[in-house]
């Protein structure tokens, strides 16, 4: 065909596309690696993560003069750090896998109900959010741990209590404005019940926001779990969890850098990955929420 115009560039330029692709694929690869590490820890770990070998205490990593027996070195009682990191990834995955969907579910339900019902129920739920905001969750966590003992389960409960309000507040605000819109009024006028409206009209309109918060919360939850464990509220000492590794490595910090650096770097990398993917999802789904946090 003659006279076809020269290629008109419509989308973003090549450099931008390249960077976008890199911005998604690198974090996605790291996330995949975390998944593989967590799920396959039993097969991938060269040593038992809790096996104490006092003869091999504080062996340096292979790139710092160590041997391939312990590629990332050993800790103060001779446990293999690489194996512990893999099993620690599993703990982080379990926590994220329960807390993020769980909090999203609770927060969304309560936000939908309180936004739709308004009035007394709405007020009550919002006061519940206030209570949660006024009581530093971390203190409540320690208190609960003193009551029922430190365990992974308690950390999960605490993190659920800690994170549901962000969903509830956003969903409630969205619902409050959505229910004034014409399509909802029209649906009501044709005799639709509240359950129908919630499911067909309100939920589809808030689901994007929920997914965005969920992805952004992944990093937050992983960091919070490590912090609580560091305080002695989470998985008990000796467990292969990143928080435990940091708190135990602390006492040997001036003798050996790796027991505390490696889990810290693992945490930082995963949190970074979570944030980058969260930003990507947010930009893809709803760029208006750019300033969400």
């Amino acid at each position: 065909m003659a006279g076809q115009p020269a290629a008109v560039q419509l989308g973003p330029g090549r450099g931008v596309r390249w960077r976008r692709w890199l911005g998604l694929s690198v974090p996605a690869l790291i996330a995949l690696a975390l998944l593989v590490a967590g799920v396959g820890a039993d097969w991938l770990a060269p040593h038992d993560p809790e096996f104490i070998n006092l003869g091999a205490r504080l062996q340096p990593p292979v790139f710092d003069g160590g041997s391939w027996d312990y590629a990332l070195g050993t800790d103060q009682v001779g446990r293999d750090i690489f194996s512990r990191l893999l099993h620690g990834a599993r703990i982080s995955l379990i926590v994220v896998g329960i807390v993020v969907p769980g909090a999203a579910l609770i927060g969304t339900l309560l936000g939908l109900i309180s936004g739709w019902a308004g009035g007394l129920i709405g007020q009550l739920l919002m006061r519940l959010v206030d209570v949660q905001l006024a009581m530093p969750a971390i203190l409540f966590a320690v208190l609960l741990a003193a009551l029922v003992g430190a365990s992974l389960r308690n950390v999960i409960i605490i993190l659920l209590i800690w994170t549901w309000p962000s969903y509830a507040r956003l969903v409630r605000a969205d619902v409050l404005s959505l229910k004034q819109r014409d399509f909802v009024t029209a649906s009501r006028a044709t005799g639709a019940g509240p359950a129908w409206i919630l499911r067909k009209h309100l939920f589809p309109n808030v689901v994007n926001s929920i997914v965005i918060i969920m992805t952004l919360e992944v990093a937050l939850v992983i960091l919070a779990e490590a912090a609580l464990t560091f305080l002695g509220v989470g998985a008990p000492p000796g467990t292969a969890s990143w928080g435990v590794m940091i708190s135990e490595g602390r006492d040997f910090m001036s003798v050996a850098w790796w027991p505390i650096w490696l889990p810290g770097l693992a945490l930082l990398t995963i949190a970074l990955t979570g944030n980058l993917m969260g930003d990507w999802v947010r930009d893809a789904l709803d760029p208006r929420l750019r300033n969400l946090r």
Partner: protein, 312 residues
């Protein structure tokens, strides 16, 4: 709704929040509290001694009666007596510790503001330059760094290896404050910087800045007097509401740096089973956070009459 009605409503809401927190803390500590392990030495722990102690502390009465007494005392400003030490009112120690935490929190915010504002403003004005790139790098890394780990690393490098700062405590005044303030402020720094940057980018595109330019004002006046002011509004909002987060964050920083603040007091008291102290300090904390949130809300209404308190 006129202002005073609104104020009264918000005050009642805040009191309600404190009441719920107080109730939760009361019942949780009653379930966990075990005074004989704290107050009696093992040889003293004979049944009749324990019985007498429980009677003295009022723990033999039904739970609901204890709860009533607790609320009654609270209403009269009696926050209970620590189970340790010479039986001083719990509030005495809380005052000192809270002041210490406030000092740390303020230092953290000052550190965050001092870096975040210039970085955010320059990054917005010079988009795509090295400074912008640096600010984004700081944001991405800062948001992903576990604060307790950062604290430990700083202790290791700047206190243990270099000896520039003490490894913990607050005995050395300003020098003791620097490392914990940085560890605590990093997260706020990132939040403030992002808000400043996006606010500045937005405002530089508005009509009133175009007008100021058209009037021939110097770039300095445009940015300093018009743009920055506007861009900082959301920052002020966020700072007002960040108190809860700061206190939560300072708990762990206080543990890492052995800082004698209220967070550490609560955690120590929990581990030592000193439940009156735990109750009193958590209630004081919750009340102060609720109060600040109330003041922020109320001051908006005073500053900006367009905000109506419909469904906040």
């Amino acid at each position: 709704m006129d202002f005073w009605n609104y104020f009264a409503l918000r005050l009642i809401q805040a009191l309600f929040v404190v009441l719920i927190v107080a109730t939760t803390v009361f019942f949780v500590s009653r379930l966990a509290g075990n005074p004989e392990s704290t107050l009696l030495s093992p040889e003293q722990r004979r049944p009749e001694e324990v019985e007498r102690l429980r009677k003295n502390l009022g723990l033999d009465k039904p739970l609901i009666v204890q709860y009533g007494t607790f609320l009654g005392n609270l209403a009269q400003g009696d926050f209970g007596t620590s189970w340790r030490g010479g039986g001083q009112p719990a509030l005495d120690e809380i005052g000192d510790r809270a002041a210490s935490t406030l000092k740390l929190g303020a230092a953290g915010v000052v550190f965050a503001l001092a870096l975040a504002l210039p970085l955010g403003i320059v990054a917005a004005l010079r988009r795509g330059t090295a400074i912008d790139w640096l600010s984004r790098f700081v944001a991405v890394i800062g948001q992903a760094t576990p604060s307790f780990w950062l604290g430990l690393m700083m202790i290791f490098f700047f206190a243990v290896q270099l000896g520039w700062f003490p490894t913990g405590g607050d005995e050395q005044g300003f020098r003791s404050l620097i490392l914990p303030a940085i560890a605590l402020g990093l997260f706020e720094l990132v939040a403030i910087m992002r808000l400043t940057r996006s606010g500045m980018i937005e405002v530089m595109d508005t009509d009133f800045i175009r007008t100021a330019r058209a009037k021939g004002l110097s770039e300095r006046v445009i940015i300093g007097r018009h743009a920055v002011r506007h861009a900082l509004l959301p920052v002020v909002t966020m700072l007002g509401l960040s108190l809860g987060r700061l206190i939560g964050g300072s708990v762990i920083i206080e543990m890492v740096f052995a800082w004698p603040g209220i967070g550490r007091l609560i955690i120590d008291s929990i581990f030592k089973n000193d439940f009156p102290m735990v109750q009193a300090s958590i209630i004081v904390l919750a009340a102060s956070i609720a109060l600040v949130n109330l003041l922020v809300d109320v001051s908006y209404r005073l500053i900006d009459p367009r905000i109506r308190a419909g469904d906040a």
